[in-house]
Symmetry: C2
Subunit: 371 residues, 2 copies
Amino acid sequence: MSEAPLTTLAAAVRPVDAAAAAACRAHWDRLTKPTGSLGHLEALAARLAAVAGAPTPAPGPALALVAAADHGVAAEGVSAYPQAVTVEMIRNLRAGGAGANVLARQAGARLLVLDAGSLAGPAGEVAELPPLAPGGAPVMVRRVCAGTASFARRAAMRRDQVLAAVAAGAEAVAWLAEEVQAGAGAGLPQLALGELGIGNTTVTAALAAVLLGLEPGVTVGPGTGLDRAGLARKREVVARALGLHRPDPGDPVGTLAAVGGPEFAALVGATLAAAARGWVVVLDGSAVAVAALLACRLAPAVGDYLVAGTLSPEPAHAPALAALGLKPLLDLGLGLGEGSGALAALPLIRQTLAVGREMATFEAAGVSDRC
Amino acid sequence: MSEAPLTTLAAAVRPVDAAAAAACRAHWDRLTKPTGSLGHLEALAARLAAVAGAPTPAPGPALALVAAADHGVAAEGVSAYPQAVTVEMIRNLRAGGAGANVLARQAGARLLVLDAGSLAGPAGEVAELPPLAPGGAPVMVRRVCAGTASFARRAAMRRDQVLAAVAAGAEAVAWLAEEVQAGAGAGLPQLALGELGIGNTTVTAALAAVLLGLEPGVTVGPGTGLDRAGLARKREVVARALGLHRPDPGDPVGTLAAVGGPEFAALVGATLAAAARGWVVVLDGSAVAVAALLACRLAPAVGDYLVAGTLSPEPAHAPALAALGLKPLLDLGLGLGEGSGALAALPLIRQTLAVGREMATFEAAGVSDRC
């Protein structure tokens, strides 16, 4: 597979509108509140304005994508849950019983699951699976592999599989866009990104170590609840993989092939495609954050389209957000994944957009400004 | 005025249901997520269950009360905004243009403003003012004084005025209850509490110093944006008042009379009345937190009905929340007041209730539990 489509995708991301952000800040300073008193939401408002290209954008549709895959490295004993959980949870998402379903319904968000490489079926399968119940999510199957190889032993994927998963992520965004007809003039769409895959905090730790230049001892965490012995094993596995592959952070595709996974590549594609469409991309936990870092390597302008929904307890998350220059909206110890932290933060984005559009100015309300 | 009604109000607050909280925790441990992975929301769920007396309570109506008053101490040059702003902002709330209006509409919350002692009219006025526009808030006028006396010179209020304001807060809760017919079996009502009043961060600093045994140098902050000279003046004013009155923290009514304000007394009454009805009380900033501390002195069982919506930048807020044993849901530097931080946090409470009721268990979804 040629890498040209990836280059085209990255080139489609345009710089955000700094003038709209400045106009937004000036507008917010005229609203009937002490200057700056809405704290971090004021910075968020300026960011949303820059993405939308308007000082007070209207809210567009809420959207959510959960990319799923399985990981050969799970066989190394790095997870507190059996590998079967990935496929079982995809089914739970279809049936509407997962945390992401509940939070998507609460946020009024259209949720799509992308099976980019789970063990639910054969590699190469392409299918569209409907929800199993009202309130469940459809599943887009673009299975570039049936689980990866264990990167502790060899490369997780081939480059062409990485590129196919990136394309699948972009296709998932196109599907969501069509579903909600989120076209120009319809308000600012917000895309919550999430992931699912037993073993993928190990992948996250490896990718974060490569991208941030950190030791695995710093980036490896307990994931879904690993004990002390498991944690030591997980650190050793990541250290071994990094020594084996020596991934080049300047080669995002090669890094994903060596120590990544299909859902990470899909999230890179989704991030690029959403930014190219002018959507705000709301990040969930550490896995989504490292995918965003990779997207920024491919297209630096992407960074301005991102909002950090949450800070998870995974140790790779805070340094990844710092590298992205993002401050999380929520800091509640959310570590479920599935986009749950991003979905939980969506109301804050809606509130911020509403304040910009509906709150009165000092002048209009006849309220005295500062002494 | 006799203090008997206050005693009755405090005695009506019953202990929460610890068994429901335990059943809630057991239920959440069966949901299809890694144990504890919804972090602080899991503790919140148990608290909501304890208040509702059910492991997975349904959400009830969202309600909001903003108590407003003016303060004689504003004449000492302790605010960055002129005193007229209190009355102007009450009008802005009636017209629907204040931040609290926008956030209440976003949360689907019924908002009531209580004028407990502003300079909008004469002391003793009792009235019900309708909204000035669709989306605006009605104003209940129970004006126990037309602004307080400057506590830097004499007591802010008389004890009977404190008691009248407490009763007005309870009456405001009764009005909200009637509006939404929030009766038994209708789900768990959530009451966001807020305040409005130029000068009231000075009052908050004085009350927090008394209740927490802290120096004014610790509890006084910049409020709506005071400069360095103003901050020094504010510290001096609070220190002078505490030396003049030497309020007894064991006498909440006396403390409120000496260095309090009508909106603080009203919030004490509203907190007691809401807890007595079995509602969850969602706190906003430092002023609401010190009112909650006073309510807890009058009825210790109240503490279990409280949720901290937000951590504001005011220095009295963190120690007040620590004394209440509460961890804030949001930490976004919100310092607007008007209940805005509490209203901004309401979606997190709704999400938490929905997760408890709608998320599948491992057994029901056929998902494997831990290895």
